[in-house]
Symmetry: D3
Subunit: 138 residues, 6 copies
């Protein structure tokens, strides 16, 4: 099924071993999931992707659960079954209730419907939506 062999801990290059250690520390769990075991064939890529996950998904202007739900929504629209499964589990672990999940699904479905309708009818963007706010970065 897998396009590359999933690497066991004892097959890791040193740089990959260090990333796995960091993943375990950050998540407080010994489990390192298959995504990282596939990426470990390229330790530098593994390090870059993990570095971004750490930098992006922590607390910031948005809380971690909101980010996780956005991640799930994008993964659905991009049709990545692996990512839908793993990030839905992550969202649940961060407190997403089943009612919140179903509302998330409802929004994803509705947006997809109106997305295609707007593209199909080639609706021109309203003048008031076309430009960023006058002081977008303030």
């Amino acid at each position: 099924m897998s396009g590359v062999r999933l690497l066991d801990d004892d097959e890791l290059a040193p740089e990959a071993k260090a990333v796995f250690g960091d993943i375990r520390a950050a998540r407080g769990s010994e489990h390192v999931n298959n995504f990282w075991r596939a990426l470990a064939h390229d330790p530098a890529l593994l390090a870059r992707v993990w570095g971004q996950v750490k930098a992006t998904m922590g607390p910031g202007a948005l809380d971690p659960l909101t980010k996780e739900m956005i991640y799930v929504a994008v993964s659905i629209a991009n049709n990545c079954e692996y990512c839908v499964a793993s990030h839905m589990a992550a969202a649940r672990a961060k407190g997403m209730s089943e009612a919140q999940l179903m509302e998330l699904i409802a929004v994803v479905g509705l947006a997809s419907q109106t997305n295609r309708i707007a593209s199909g009818l080639r609706v021109p963007v309203d003048g008031r939506f076309a430009a960023p706010p006058a002081a977008a970065d303030s």
Copy 2:
């Protein structure tokens, strides 16, 4: 540019006119945007889509701003320029800050990257992610 002519208020069938009135009341604004003016060629479809927007996007287990940001994220992944523009404006109107917007964009970008990596390497879903929680609906 548009695939169908955008209807003016005085061209609306009675059912469409009623929906426009409801849109104006719900939004507290006289402006009815181009999406609805294109959909108005099919008043029954207009009514169904608007009905869903009302039922889905209001307060619930998720707050309206979170839903609006999920809507934006999906619209990006589905590549609907109209919807990205209109729902980004809506999210700003509901209080999304520019810092929140940039974090939203960062999550959408990161998810899209890992989505394609997981699909490209055909990573099998970990056993622990494969099944719903034992009592998913409780």
Copy 3:
């Protein structure tokens, strides 16, 4: 495999039970497929989606088989394996022959090829295609 548990008939909330009854009546079959059993976790969403299916897929300006084939084509382009399987079965049940199926597949493939070529070469829309007909809604 499933992201949420599929609900059995005896687990349904009253609103969901009513929708299942309507699905059975409309289809003249006791079988209610997995899609609805997953959606039943949110009875209001279940009712909205089913309501749309009934309103959209019946006879109208297009016949039901043509609509079903369009549904299949979109599901292929959106990469929904579940929907391709279920709506291909529905199209066959409505009379789609195997020769029609193969022609449908040929059109989907050809459109996808030219879609990417046009996007890749960024071909500008011909003036004559850019605007809707003068009296698009008459």
Copy 4:
């Protein structure tokens, strides 16, 4: 705007000139649209793509208008603005009414909604949909 220059008639290689002649004959019109003028940079590719269009879009088990509407639906889901514009014009030229267009749009929107819901909830394919009919090709 264009990724390659659109070729005028007097810039065509002989093989491309022959294809343009065939397009004009098949369509009974002097107009050769921008898509073919971009493709003409590679006369062999131009000939292959045009050959497929002729072989696929004519009468068969499906009538030409049904095929054209399927083409539009796929182009919407694949987000090709050029193709949506050009094939919507072609569908209208083949007799698609505005009521048929709006129903087509409604089906595309609904399918896109249920596509994402099914993928988001990772609904497993029902046993009865999983296999082709016993004698699929008879």
Copy 5:
């Protein structure tokens, strides 16, 4: 699993049998993979698609391995699991190393990230990128 039955050699129409013979000759292998066995339900479509593969994927201005890697990259972005699996095998057979595969994956992931960021922020195309080179075809 399959939407149509995969045809065995002794079920092929004469035109399909000829194409299978040509596939075997071109590849120097008796194995004809499932894609062609599904397409064989429509011998004319089978012949057209195979004809294109032969015309497109051989040596030209790009070498066959580069083309095969582009094919894999597109298949990932289009989410075709079958095609990712089969063309990754083909790329390996043509000499793609595991280091090259991982770089290919890295580029696909990075492009997908920046694709969504650019679409999400609706970045306008720089003037210098908007037009084709003055003599694009020379």
Copy 6:
């Protein structure tokens, strides 16, 4: 048109200014394109994305032009007009000929056609393609 204002050099935060300096040095050009001017609203995100571009797109197991063409191919399939325009310009700057461009487009188109055919017919992956090579990483 833009979703956020494009920042001028004199509006940059110090971290963003440093990244712009690095972009200019790496490319040997004063021009910093719009993508980076939009991203500059979030200097940390700007730095992360630019860091990845540098790490990914340079020489490695694949040469820079091959990577750039893969980038273009993915951008087409993901429908990012900005990225198609900017990376097609980059590929030309790295030596891509017009004949190579047209072959790239031909492969993207063909892959997209067979991707949808395989997904539409739900062709099961051949056993010989399902698993990675025995020693995939050696």
